[in-house]
Symmetry: C2
Subunit: 82 residues, 2 copies
Amino acid sequence: MTYNVQIKVMLLKDLLDPQGKAVQAGLKNLGLNGINDVRIGKHITLQIDADSEEAAKAAADEACKKLLANPVMEFYEIEMVN
Amino acid sequence: MTYNVQIKVMLLKDLLDPQGKAVQAGLKNLGLNGINDVRIGKHITLQIDADSEEAAKAAADEACKKLLANPVMEFYEIEMVN
C-alpha cells in the first residue's frame, strides 16, 4: 500500500535561524507588525510503498536519519497522512 | 495574545520539483527503496501577537501573500497551533 508521509525538518530551537531573522525584518519593513520569532525549515512530502503504516513510518525515519535531517543541528517530525 | 502559526509552502503539484527528484535519487542510492514522489518545500513557524485567532490567521495570510509564498509557483497552508 502507498502511504503519504509529511516530514517537518527544523533547526533546533536553541540555534539562531538567520533566514528566519531576515524574513522577520522583511515582514516588519512591509508594515506587518506583531510577527515574532520567525523560523524557517523544510517541509518534505513522500509517498512510501510499504506493507503497513509502521513499516512506512520506519522507512521515513530511516530516510530522515540517513539523508533528510542533520541531527547535530536539526530535529524532525514525521506525520502520516491518509 | 500570542498565537503560534505553522505555514507550509510547497511548489504547485503540476510543477517539477528538482530538489525533490535529487533527494529521491539519493534515497535510492542509499538503499531505501519504495520511496516515491519526494517534494520539498518550506515550513515556517511564526508567533503572532493579535487580538483574536481570526486576526492572527489574517496576518499570517497577508505575510504569505506579501512575502512568504510566490503564488505563481507555490501554494501555502496555514495551521494555527495552540
